[in-house]
Each structure stands twice: as C-alpha cells, then as structure tokens.
C-alpha cells in the first residue's frame, strides 16, 4: 500500500464520525481537500487534523443545522439541549454522591428510613442511573430528529411531554419519591430529580412543544409534503474507489 492509500484509508475512518447522510454527500469532497492539504509522503493524519474531524463530526451529529428560516424550530431544539443539560447535571449529582446514597437523598430533600436504606443495593442504584440516563438520551434524540425536520419526532416529543406531565402530576401531591427505589413503581421517563429540576425540565419541554406546533414550525416540518431536506443540495456520486475511473456527475 502506498503512503497515499494509507493516508486516505485513515481519513476515511475518521470521516465515519460524521452522520451518514452528510458523509455520503460530502465525503468524497472532504477527502479530496484532506488529500490536497497533505504533505508529500504523509502516511497518517496529524493529531490536530484528526481532532478537527472528530470534533466536526460529533458536533454535526449532536447539533444538526436547523435553517435560520425556521427560528421557532431552532429555539425548540435549543430548549431540548437545555433539557438535556439539566438532566446531565442531575446525573452528575447522582454520580458524585453515589457512594453515599443517603447524601443523594439529602440533596433531593427527602429522608429515608433505615429499612429503606438497607434496601438500596447495587441493582437499585444501577436502575437509578439508567433512569437518569434515559431522559438525557431522549432529549438529545428528540433535539436531533426535530432539528432534521422529522415529523414523527414532533409527534413523539409531544407524546413524551404528555407522559412527563402525567408523571409530574402524579408525583407532586405526594411526599416526593418515598418509594422511589422500588423499580416497579418507576414507570416514567422522569428520574429521581429534585422537584425544582422537574419543574425546570417540564417548562423547557412545554415551551419546546409549543414552539414545535407553531405555524412557522409546521412549514419546516412539511415542505410540500416531502422530506425536509433543503432542495438545492444535489447528491454527489458515491465514494470514488482508487483506480476506478470517475463516474459521470450527470
């Protein structure tokens, strides 16, 4: 394998960081630019170049480009990231005090009896962490898919918000999470959040759902009943294979 082929293969691997749709459209072109930027005899990507590709790919996966022409959707997507950030903060609190689960409950503002504390085993803690991870994943997933203009994501976000609302209303009249470590009772997507955090994330969800159903957003989700990919972006031919004659662009 020549130096050039070696380098090209390494770059292709790095380009896997980007979302597939973006890679299929722009991969060959980015590869051409990367190869043009390479020094003679270079066999592997420089660390800065590699870091830049990884960062660019992750950023694109996490934050899809919502057009400026759809400000309501942009705002809704930002709120969803804010929701993910709050949920992440909750996870950090949980992890920070995991060794002393009683301290965690003190943070949440409620007390456990000795009997309840003795029930806390590794499995229960694992369940707790999973329940904290699920909303983070859901926020990020919904932010991404709504940002891409998927109409089903709009429906699903609304349904999830409804579910969160039900949970919130069922949780609040009672002393919060007295029985929170009995996993079977935790049928919701809302983890062991302190009430203030619950209300904050609920408000972010409410605002996001409201924004998603504004008329301006509907235009973004349903441009002429087709997939909301901006129209003036022609597909490129696939990856040119080394030694293969270039395919026609027509």
């Amino acid at each position: 394998m020549t130096d050039q082929e070696h380098l090209e293969r390494a770059y292709r691997r790095l380009l896997a960081c980007y979302p597939r749709a973006f890679r299929e459209e722009n991969g060959p072109e980015i590869l051409a630019v990367l190869m043009a930027c390479a020094r003679d005899g270079q066999r592997r990507p420089g660390p800065a170049q590699a870091a830049d590709l990884i960062r660019g790919g992750l950023r694109m996966r996490l934050f899809p480009s919502v057009p400026r022409s759809a400000p309501t959707v942009r705002a809704a997507v930002r709120l969803m990231y804010a929701g993910a950030a709050v949920s992440t903060a909750n996870l950090i609190v949980l992890l920070a005090v995991i060794a002393d689960i009683k301290a965690y409950h003190a943070v949440l503002g409620h007390r456990l009896t000795t009997a309840q504390v003795s029930q806390l085993n590794t499995a229960a803690i694992t369940v707790e962490i999973v329940y904290t991870l699920v909303p983070i994943a859901l926020w990020l997933w919904m932010a991404r898919k709504n940002g891409q203009g998927r109409n089903w994501a709009r429906g699903l976000s609304t349904a999830l918000f409804g579910l969160a609302t039900l949970t919130l209303s069922s949780v609040f009249p009672q002393p919060v999470f007295n029985i929170s470590f009995v996993p079977t009772v935790r049928l919701s997507f809302v983890p062991a959040l302190a009430p203030a955090v619950l209300v904050l994330t609920w408000l972010a969800g409410a605002a996001a759902v409201w924004l998603l159903w504004r008329p301006a957003s509907t235009a973004f989700f349903k441009p002429e009943g087709l997939a909301p990919v901006p129209p003036a972006r022609p597909r490129s031919p696939g990856w040119p294979q080394p030694g293969q004659p270039p395919r026609s662009l027509l």
Partner: protein, 109 residues
C-alpha cells in the same frame, strides 16, 4: 442580527468575487487573513453545511479532477447581503476605534 464568527466572515469573503471549491477557500482564507487563519477541512465543512442550511451559499457546479470530486460554492443573494451588512458593521466599529485612538494621541496611523 448576531455578529458573525471570523471563520464564517472569511469564508463568505473568499466567495465574494466568484465561486470556489473547498481547497480554494482554505488557501484564499489563509491569504486574506495574512496567514493567520488556517481553516482545517473539518471546520470548513461544518461551516459550509451551516451556511448552506441558512441558504447563504449554494453549490455552483461540480467537477471531477484526477478522479476526485470538486464542488464549487458561490454566495446566494442572501449571502451577499449578509456579508455586506457584516462588513459595514465591522468597518463602522474599526473606524470608531481608529478615530478615538487618534484623538487620544494613540499609535494608530
């Protein structure tokens, strides 16, 4: 309207007098900035993707050179307006800074 990032401003400037392909933009931005701003391909294509989504730039044409794809980008009318606005804003700020420095007997020439 929010201030534009420097890289975005330079990319749009590189496209202001005609379409260019990715590598052309990188070398042009380096020249415009006097060698100070060296765009990496990952940064460039993240920015191009965003600019296309915002319809500030579009694809002009595609060519295959030595078996490799070259896509040429150009400013859209909206992109031209946005760049002109941003340039005017920067110019106003720079003029204010230079005027005050001169009044204060500063080193600005």
């Amino acid at each position: 309207m929010r201030a534009m990032q420097e890289a975005t401003f330079l990319i749009l400037t590189a496209l202001a007098d005609g379409s260019q392909h990715g590598y052309g933009i990188i070398t042009d931005v380096r020249d415009i900035s006097g060698g100070r701003v060296r765009l990496r391909p990952g940064t460039l294509y993240t920015a191009l993707d965003r600019l296309r989504a915002d319809e500030l730039i579009g694809v002009d044409r595609e060519e295959v050179v030595d078996g490799r794809l070259r896509r040429y980008y150009r400013l859209t009318p909206a992109g031209t307006r946005r760049l002109a606005d941003e340039a005017a804003r920067l110019q106003a700020h720079a003029a204010a800074a230079l005027t005050r420095l001169n009044l204060a007997g500063g080193t600005a020439t």
